[in-house]
């Protein structure tokens, strides 16, 4: 039976000596673990100071015992536990070979994140949630050999939290990456969301996508108009997610009139301060 389970430490457990070094042993000693196919790893103690590297290394060391895991989420914690940009991630290089039957990997946090040389014939979904995605990680995904990848969601974020690229970085990424089975693309949580909308709409993946996710960013009517104009040319796209945005009500109505499923919830108004317009992406404020 498929089972999802989250393993995390709270303050008391951390005070009593739990930490990243004890996480894998605790997971393996759980009698339910053999039934857990969806493994979620949350706060590992002082996640802002201690990397999860030892967790990743010990998963690799005990790879046979993790072979039944189909979905892995490392860093599932909210702002109550740790700022996303403060989560100290790790190097995933060894994981690709160690877990050959993994279908889905979700990583939260991009500090110290290294994905390494990605080659995994079975992985179907890759999600990186962060406040700023470094170009180094984008390039690792760009060079990835993921022939079965169907879903890719990348939180782009902002410079302050690690995004050191531009719209051209994403343009290049979409041109050079090769995911023949990709049907769900998320390029989200950006403060240049309108520019990224254009880049995505001009990409080769538009012909194969079923779900387009441009949510959680500073999408305005400029990006909305591009979507309105371009999406009818791609009847393969059946779902558009633009929730958390700065479009006008009029634009929301126009998008919702498209013959596809549209999520345009969480509309925000830009703020004006001393003559300047301020907007922020979801995970940057």
């Amino acid at each position: 039976m498929e089972k999802s389970k989250k393993y995390m430490y709270d303050y008391e457990q951390f005070e009593n000596g739990k930490g990243p070094g004890t996480m894998v042993a605790d997971i393996l000693s759980d009698p339910e673990f053999s039934q857990v196919s969806d493994l979620v790893i949350g706060c590992w103690g002082e996640s802002w100071d201690d990397s999860c590297q030892i967790i990743l290394d010990q998963i690799v060391e005990n790879k046979e015992k993790f072979s039944h895991v189909k979905s892995l989420f490392v860093g599932d914690m909210d702002y109550e536990e740790c700022e996303v940009s403060w989560i100290v991630q790790g190097n995933y290089s060894g994981l690709w070979q160690a877990l050959p039957h993994l279908k889905s990997l979700t990583v939260k946090g991009s500090s110290d994140l290294v994905l390494g040389e990605i080659s995994h014939p079975e992985l179907e979904a890759l999600t990186i949630i962060c406040g700023g995605l470094p170009v180094s990680v984008i390039q690792e995904i760009q060079n990835a050999k993921l022939p079965n990848l169907k879903k890719l969601v990348l939180y782009i974020g902002i410079e302050d939290y690690g995004f050191d690229g531009s719209a051209d970085t994403i343009k290049n990424f979409l041109e050079k990456s090769d995911f023949p089975k990709l049907v769900h693309l998320g390029i989200e949580d950006s403060e240049i969301q309108d520019e990224l909308v254009q880049v995505v709409l001009e990409s080769k993946y538009m012909k194969q996508l079923k779900i387009l996710d441009l949510s959680n960013g500073t999408l305005t009517d400029k990006g909305g108009a591009l979507l309105l104009e371009t999406l009818p040319s791609y009847p393969n796209v059946g779902e558009l997610d633009v929730h958390f945005h700065y479009m006008t009500e009029r634009m929301v109505k126009d998008l919702q009139a498209l013959p596809i499923k549209v999520d345009a919830s969480e509309r925000y108004e830009p703020e004006e301060y001393k003559g300047e317009i301020w907007m922020n992406a979801m995970l940057t404020e």
Binding site: M8, Y9, D10, Y11, E12, Q13, G42, C43, E46, W48, D49, M77, D78, Y79, E80, E81, E83, W86, D160, E285
Partner: protein, 368 residues
Amino acid sequence: MRQAAVLGSPGTKRAIYLKKGAEAAGISVRLLDWKEFPFRYTAAWEDLFVKIDPPLWESCCLDELNVLAQDYKKKLQWLAELGKKQQITFLNRPEDISALLDKKGCKIRLAEAGIPVTEELEGSRRADMSSGRNAAAAGTAGMPADRSPAGAGPAEMLLYAMEQHRVFQVFIKPVCGSGAAGTAAFRWLPSSGQMILYTCAIEDPETGRMVNTKRLRRFTDRKQVLSMIGRLLELDCIVERWYAKAEHSGFSYDLRAVVQNGTPDFILARLSSGPITNLHLNNHPLKGEELGLPDRVMEEVEQLCIRAAGCYPELQSAGIDILLEKGSLRPRIIEMNGQGDLIYQDIYDQNRIYLHQAEIMKEWLYKI
């Protein structure tokens, strides 16, 4: 002849819904208007049962919090003295309402009774250093006073205390505040120097005074954060460890329970997409039972609230804020309020809280 009265403000939800509760219980309740304070004709207050609602405060300037609180305490003192002289019966005695305005004092009393509270960070204020107060009483680990940095300002003192205790996220709350006024959630990463401050307080650009708003903001500029923390700590503040709160549907939440005469009449979850949960901040409220918590957790919360209310035995109606730690769902009392009985989800539904108060009044009215 015995009479029941509410000392409050006409037209407020508290007054309106207590009146509805009284009507349902078949009694009438006089309204004594705070505007009349100090009351000149108190001879008629004999044989009176009084419920005291909070007066209406209009200031949003945080530096006035203490003055307003002190003024209110004086009024409560006046009422306490009158109560003794005229043998007035109170739903909640003015002395208890006054005691609960002091978050620090309440925390100490609860901790002394062995009740888990959100722990205070000792040594974060200059006053802690000089008072030599028994830190263990408030469930904290004290910091030796002689190791405090010489000449440090309040913000530096806080950073020093955080480093000493290895507590890198705290809540800063004015001792006398209410409605999230002046409350701030502060997080610091010493290894990189990064700081984040969540607060509804801002510095008014025109007057330079710290004012409260109803919007939660996030500040990350170190200089600005330290300046704001310094300004907040200049108010009389309590600094507590920031525990990761439980979440429901992607929102973190805490609980507000209303315990009356030993019975938990209502438990409300205050869901929020930010670290500060408060009913004044337009957070999303949910009835406690809708959280789908295991029965043992709700029972533990109820028992804890009953024990906490028991620390103030004369208090017949207590609003109690409870935090459930993320993961373990272990409850801790955040604070108590002698006037924390207004819950919209109740007044617009069964009005159980005010009906219970009316029943308490009725019992007193017909007591032989």
